[in-house]
C-alpha cells in the first residue's frame, strides 16, 4: 500500500473515530448570560424532566424568586429530556459550576455515593415546612441513607385509566383486582374492530409493569425497602407467587393486548388509549392532560390500580426533586431557592401545572385534587396499607446491568423464547449473587 493509501486510511479512521466519539449531545448552555445579582450571586440550576411547558413554568417561578431575593439571580439549564440525566451526571463528574439540580430517585444514591450532592439535613432541621411533606414525599426525600438529599417537587403515582363508554357497552364493572382486569381485558378485546382491552407495556422499562404484578401477587411479604427481596431474605423471583404472576402477565399480553405492544413504550401505550384502540391503561398522572385534550368528557375515567390476590398493590412512587451540589459556592442561596420552590403554595402550584401529585399534605384539601381525575390518587394515598409504596434496589451495584437486560428478558418471555421458570431463575440467581457480594 502506497503512502497516499496510508494517508487515506488514516483520514478514514480519523473520520470513523470522530463519528464514533463525537455523537454526544452538545453541552447545555444557560438560557442567557444573565448578570449576577446585586450581591454578585448567580445560582446555576439544572432541571431533568424538561418540557417546554415545564421549563416556562419554572422560569416564571424563578422570576418570582429573583423578585423576592434581589441579590440572587438564577440561570436555568434545561437539557433535552432524553439524555438529561446523563448530561447532569456529566456536569457533576466534571464539577461544572452548578448549585441546584433536579435529582431523580434512581440516581440519588449514585450522586450521594460519589459525593456530588449535599445532605440537606442541616437545612431541613431548621425548615418549618419539612413536616408539611406527605409520608411518601418524605420517603423519597430520604431515599438514600435515611437522609434528605433532595426535596421532591411532585409525585408520579400510577392509576388505572379506563374507557367508561366501552365498559358500559359491555356491561362490566371497573376492575379492582388483576384478575378482574384480565377478565375485562379479554371481554373488551376484538381485533376485528382493532379494539383491545389493555395498553400493555413491553418496550423500554416494561419490566416495571411485570414487577408491579409480581409484587401484588406476593403481597406484604415483599420487603418494601428493597422490593426485589422478600422479608425473609429470598429474592422476589424465587417464590411460587411470582411464577403465577408472570404466567398471568403473559396471559394479559396474549389475550387482552395488541400483539405489537411487546415493543410499546410510553407514547404508544398512551396513544393506544387516547386514540381508541385500548380500553385500559395504567399510567402516571401526566397522562390526564393529554387525555382531556384528545378524548371526550365522560368517555373515560380513572380508578385506583388493581390489587393482587394478596389484597395489596405496590408501586414505586416516582418523586424527583430539588437538590444541592456538594461543591456549590453559594449553599445558603441555593437552599433559599430550594426552600422557595418547596414552599407548600409554590409546590402545589407546580404540581397542578405539571400534572403531578403534590408533595404537601395540605393539597389533599384542594378541590382540584379532591374531585375528578385526580381523586383516585388521593384515595390511594389515604390507604397506605393497601396501596404500598416500595423501593427498587437502586443502591446495588448490579442495578444498572440488570436494567440493561431486563427488558430483553421480558420480551423473550412474552415471545415464547424463554419460559417463566427460566426467566425467574435467571433473575433469582442474579440478585442472590448481588446480595451475597454486598455483604
Amino acid at each position: 500500500m502506497g503512502f497516499r493509501s496510508w494517508i487515506s486510511v488514516a483520514l478514514q479512521l480519523t473520520m470513523a473515530t470522530a463519528l464514533l466519539v463525537g455523537c454526544s449531545q452538545p453541552a447545555a448552555t444557560p438560557d442567557s448570560a444573565s448578570p449576577s445579582g446585586a450581591n454578585g450571586v448567580t445560582l446555576k440550576m439544572v432541571e431533568s424532566i424538561t418540557s417546554p411547558q415545564r421549563t416556562a413554568l419554572l422560569k416564571e417561578m424563578l422570576a418570582q424568586f429573583e423578585a423576592k431575593n434581589p441579590g440572587i439571580k438564577v440561570d436555568l439549564i434545561s437539557p433535552p429530556f432524553e439524555g438529561a440525566d446523563q448530561k447532569i451526571t456529566q456536569m457533576l463528574m466534571a464539577k461544572e459550576e452548578l448549585d441546584v439540580l433536579e435529582v431523580r430517585e434512581f440516581n440519588a444514591k449514585q450522586f450521594s455515593m460519589n459525593g456530588f450532592i449535599e445532605n440537606l439535613k442541616p437545612y431541613t432541621e431548621k425548615w418549618k415546612n419539612y413536616d408539611q411533606l406527605t409520608d411518601v414525599a418524605k420517603r423519597r426525600a430520604t431515599w438514600v441513607d435515611k437522609a434528605p438529599y433532595y426535596i421532591p417537587n411532585g409525585l408520579y403515582q400510577r392509576v388505572l385509566y379506563y374507557r367508561t363508554d366501552w365498559f358500559k357497552e359491555a356491561g362490566i364493572e371497573v376492575p379492582k383486582t388483576w384478575d378482574e382486569l384480565l377478565v375485562a381485558a379479554k371481554k373488551l378485546t376484538d381485533p376485528t374492530k382493532n379494539r383491545y382491552g389493555y395498553s400493555f407495556r413491553g418496550g423500554a422499562t416494561g419490566w416495571d409493569y411485570a414487577l408491579i404484578t409480581m409484587w401484588a401477587y406476593n403481597g406484604t411479604e415483599v420487603d418494601a425497602d428493597s422490593a426485589f427481596f422478600m422479608k425473609d431474605g429470598r429474592t422476589l423471583f424465587s417464590t411460587p407467587q411470582s411464577l403465577e404472576a408472570m404466567q398471568y402477565y403473559k396471559q394479559l399480553y396474549k389475550e387482552g393486548s395488541p400483539k405489537d405492544s411487546v415493543s410499546w413504550g410510553f407514547q404508544e401505550m398512551v396513544q393506544g388509549f387516547v386514540a381508541g384502540s385500548t380500553a385500559m391503561l395504567i399510567q402516571d398522572p401526566d397522562v390526564i392532560d393529554g387525555a382531556k385534550e384528545k378524548m371526550q368528557e365522560g368517555t373515560w375515567a380513572t380508578a385506583p390500580i388493581p390489587i393482587g390476590p394478596s389484597g395489596v398493590a405496590q408501586q414505586v412512587v416516582g418523586g424527583p426533586g430539588w437538590g444541592m451540589t456538594s461543591y456549590s459556592k453559594h449553599k445558603e442561596e441555593a437552599w433559599k431557592l430550594i426552600e422557595f420552590l418547596s414552599d407548600p403554595e409554590q409546590s402545589t402550584h407546580f404540581a397542578k401545572k405539571t400534572s403531578t401529585i403534590p408533595v404537601v399534605k395540605s393539597a389533599a384539601e384542594d378541590e382540584f385534587y379532591k374531585t375528578g381525575y385526580f381523586q383516585p390518587f388521593i384515595e390511594m394515598s389515604q390507604q397506605p396499607t393497601k396501596f404500598l409504596d416500595v423501593s427498587r434496589p437502586v443502591d446495588y451495584k448490579g442495578w444498572g446491568a440488570w436494567q440493561s437486560t431486563a427488558d430483553k428478558d421480558i420480551q423473550s418471555f412474552l415471545l415464547d423464547q424463554l419460559t417463566a421458570e427460566d426467566l425467574l431463575k435467571k433473575w433469582d440467581q442474579y440478585w442472590t449473587k448481588e446480595k451475597a457480594e454486598r455483604k
Partner: protein
Amino acid sequence: MDTQKPIVMTTKQVVPEGKKSFRISKEGRFIFLCLLPAILFVSVFTYYPLVRGIIMSFQNYTLFDLMNIQFIGLDNFVNVLTSPDFPRVAMNSFYWVFFSLVFQLLFGFMLALLMRKKFRGRGIYQAFVFFPWAMSGFLIGLIWRWMFNAQFGVINDLLLKTGLIDAPISFLADGTWAMAAVIIANIWYGVAFFAIMILAALQSIPEELYEAAAMDGAGRIQQFWRVTLPYIMPTMLVTILLRVIWILNFPDIIYAMTNGAPAGSTHIFATYMIDKVIFGQDYGQASAVGVIIVLILMLFTIFYVKATKVEKGGDF
C-alpha cells in the same frame, strides 16, 4: 578525573557530520500556526475522547461508583465478547450495513441517473429525493416507528386497503420483521446521499467522452460500462467507504424505532453500546464495545483500500 575542567564541544560534536540541523522556515512556521487551531480542535474533540475511551475500556468505569475506578485488564472485552448477545449483535450489524448499503447504492444510482436528464419539475423532484438527508436520524426513526405500528400505522393501513394482507402485521413485535423495518427506514434515509454523490460525479463527465464513444460505435449500454461507470468509480468507492463507516456508527434510527427490541433482536454495535451506558450505566463495557467498533472499521478500511486501491478522493 578533574571535575572542574570545563567540557568544550566542537561544532562537529554537536551536529554530526552529514546531518543538518532541523530548522523550520518562516513559511513553514506560518503554515503551522494556521493549522494550529484545526490541530487543537481535532485533538480535543477527536483524539482526546478516543484515548479516553480506550483507557475507560480497561477500567471498571460505572456510574454507580465513580470513586473506585481501577484498571481491570481485559475484563470488559471478555464480558462483551462472551456475552450471549454478542453473536446476534454482530450478525445484526452485518445485516444492517450490508443491506442498507446495497439498496442505498442501487436506488441512489437509479435516482441519480434519472435526475441527470433535464425534465420538467426536476428541481421539485430533486428536493423530494434529497429531503430525508436533511432530517435527523432520530426523527426519522420516530416517524417510521409510527408508520410500522400495527394499530395506527399507515403501512398496515395501505396493505390492508390494497388487499395485500387480511390482518395487520406486527412489524415491530417480531425480530425478523423488526430488523427488516429498521433497514427499510435506513435505506430511505441514505438513498439521498448516494444520489447526491453519484449525481455530482455524473454531471462532471465531459460530454465529449460520450461523443467520442458514440463516434467509435458504442451504444448506450456500452457507453455506460465504458464511460460512465469508470469515470464515477472513484467517487462511488469513496462514498461506499464513508457510508459503511457512517452506517455502522448510526444508532439513531434503530434507537428511536425499536430501542433494540423485541428481545434485543435489532441491536447493532452502536445501539448495544448506548444501552450499556443508558441502562447499564457501565462506561467501561460501553467503551469496550466502542473500541471493538473502531477495530472492525480499521480492519474493514485497510482491507477495502487494499482491495480497491483507492487513491483518488473522488470528485467532490
